[in-house]
Amino acid sequence: MKTETVAMILAGGQGSRLGKLTKTIAKPAVPFGGNYRIIDFALSNCANSGFNHVGVVTQYQPLVLNTHVGNGSSWGLNRHNGGATILQPYSSVDGEKFFKGTAHAIYQNIDYIDQKNPDYVVILSGDHIYKMDYEKMLDYHKRKAASLTVGVMPVPWEETSRFGVMNTDRTDRIIEFQEKPENAKSNLASMGIYIFDWPRLKQYLVDNQSKNRQMEDFGHHVIPAYLRNSESIYAYSFEGYWKDVGTIESLWSANMEFLDPEHELNIRDRKWRVYSKNPNTTPQFLTETAKVSDSMITDGCYIAGEINHSVLSHNVKVGKGSVVTDSVIMPNVVIGENVRIEKAIIGEGAHIYDDAELIGTESDIAVAGYKEEVGGYSDEK
């Protein structure tokens, strides 16, 4: 059984714009949509695309992420010689190695990839919410005989300045790359999804390293070098739902969109499941005083209060008289009695004491951090 493809998920970033939510956990490990963590989408895409050799490159606060991903068995990846492998910084006879950028992280893990000896390497980001069949993109890559294929999606022209933009010819070959351009020539934004021919990419990384040339980042160094050398780079267009949940507001709105039973992501589609590590917990218990409306609730919840248009992760307790509206409640949160929560994100393991209020607005979502205590005898409120 030849390993055709290795997928490398870059899950190393802190995601500092998520503030208190990523102080002690990596962004890809942040809970999402009740039952999931952000990285589940990339991992499930890999599993559903038939890619079961997955390296998860990480260096920021990896404990929760490592526990979650394990050997990839929750996604069925640990079959047929495959599996998820967590790749963290290490030292060697050449010294200690932290990852300096996206391409450098791949360079540092050449040994892992070479062990599998693949034809192709797929580079993915661990912090996007989407469903995508990477195998179709790989077929496209083969058909185009490309050296590099970049996943792109059309964005509104007025937003092009926030993205890396790919200018293509009529055959979809990329002829120019503009990083966050003032005047974009195209509205095809890079999704940070790359398929490389591995021997070629390895050559670029190793050669440039030996010549002390910078080859740290795909966008800043590798793609420009490929363009300079007239490598065949193609753009592969993706048109489905895709969301970068890089800020508190985008994380909140992605959850609110997810809640809609008609949502494009269609979480109940049995043909393209989103897998996660499922906790051992009790059924959902809705008491006589519970009221729930237009909400997602997960196993282990105990609800005696009122839940409107909200997403509750597992093991959330909501006391009598409390009202939760337009909010995202992460796992193991305890909400006391007569609490009011509106347009808020409550971080994993937080405790909101009786009578507390946490009220945000659409442009300023209220946040309780990981294990934060709000109200009661705490001063933090």
Partner: protein
């Protein structure tokens, strides 16, 4: 705690009064409390005691059980490093029916091989019909403190808590400073209102004593069971020590007791008594999405598993995975198992839907608390009647 227990689960249990729920499954595989099966409770007790292996003796098709247990890894019973779940057809019973009688001797051999190969010090014998939350470590401490030959487990209950024609027995205890057993007596003849010590058919004994009794059972062609072993102990003038269990207990004997056990869980105290332990009750993990409750959903005192879609009214009910309940439907005092689908404007009261039942728009079923209606697996319920699909 190191691996100290070699568990033997006798899953050849009484299924007759549980039909049609037990048409194709043993008692151990009965779905319970939205996301469990009855076997999860003894298995979770074993997990808490850090047992690494278990021998299961089953009758008939074990398919639903194998499918649930798989490698046993959920309960720490997988096959690495000396562990594993070992399943055996309960061939002694078959031989009593004069089928495959040549297998007779393997019945004893299978027990012998399992126990001698285990590195554990003790054997614990148990079943799945006594739904409870047993702390095996406490039983073990009791056994060692009392320096028991054998320890059996009982709970004091009222006669009414068992069904009228129950097949189970009570322990007749010696009065004195220690709880020891004088004998076993059938419960079915006892008068209403009696307090009795129900024999939970669970026994702890050393490997040495087990092997001694196994040899004796083989010589006399007797069943390997808790009751046989109680008798052996009494015959030898050794004492049978009795450990009193005081937690939640429901003996699953017929459809009503099964129904009541599920309804019990809607009471917070019972729920906590059964589910609150050092570790949660463990069941096989299944991938799932959160349950979605629509804008018009009305829920009062009900339990749900993940993966449901609820647009109707649900009161005092227990809803398993992947159930959809459409607008205008009212479900009360009912148990709806996995994969069932309830269309609009359906009324269900005191009903048990087995797995994968489809209830058509406008249908109405009402049982009584004493006689809940049971709809068999894969049926379709029309307003005009019921069709059972293959």
């Amino acid at each position: 705690m190191r691996n100290r227990l070699a568990p033997i689960l006798n899953l050849v249990e009484h299924t007759g009064k549980l039909k049609p729920l037990t048409d194709r499954r043993p008692v151990a595989s009965l779905p319970f409390a939205c996301r469990y099966r009855l076997i999860d409770f003894p298995f979770s007790s074993l997990y808490n005691a850090e047992a690494v292996s278990a021998a299961l003796f089953i009758a008939g098709s074990g398919h639903s059980l194998y499918d649930h247990i798989r490698s046993g890894s959920t309960w720490g019973l997988d096959s690495f490093a000396g562990g594993g779940v070992f399943t055996h057809s309960q061939v002694k019973l078959k031989s009593d029916q004069n089928v495959e009688s040549k297998y007779d001797k393997f019945y004893y051999e299978d027990h012998y091989n399992y126990v001698t190969r285990s590195k554990a010090e003790y054997v614990v014998m148990m079943g799945s019909s006594f739904l409870s939350n047993i702390q095996l470590e406490s039983v073990l401490h009791f056994h060692e403190d009392k320096n028991s030959q054998v320890t059996v487990v009982y709970k004091q209950v009222n006669r009414e808590e068992l069904v009228e024609d129950t097949v189970y027995t009570a322990l007749n205890l010696n009065n004195g400073e220690t709880d020891t057993v004088k004998g076993i007596e059938p419960v079915s003849g006892m008068a209403s209102g009696t307090k009795l010590n129900v024999n939970m058919e669970m026994m702890l004994l050393s490997k040495k004593v087990f092997l001694d009794y196994l040899f004796r059972a083989k010589q006399h062609d007797m069943d390997i069971s808790v009751n046989t072993f109680i008798q052996f102990t009494l015959d030898s003038n050794e004492s049978v020590n009795a450990y009193e269990y005081t937690g939640y207990l429901r003996v699953i004997e017929d459809v009503k007791s099964y129904f009541d056990a599920n309804m019990d869980m809607l009471d917070q105290d019972n729920f906590n008594a059964l589910f609150y332990r050092a570790d949660p009750v463990r069941t096989r993990a299944k991938n799932s999405a959160p349950t979605y409750y629509g804008e018009e959903a009305v829920i009062e005192n009900a339990q749900f598993a993940n993966d449901c879609e609820v647009y109707g009214t649900v009161r005092n009910s227990v809803i398993f995975r992947k159930v959809s309940i459409e607008k205008g439907s009212v479900i009360e005092d009912s148990i709806i198992m996995q994969d069932s689908c309830i269309e609009e404007d359906v009324t269900l009261k005191h009903v048990i839907l087995d797995k994968h039942v489809y209830v058509m728009k406008g249908a109405k079923l009402e049982g009584t608390p004493d006689n809940p209606i049971v709809i068999a697996k894969n049926s379709v319920v029309y307003p005009e009647g019921i069709t059972k699909e293959g």
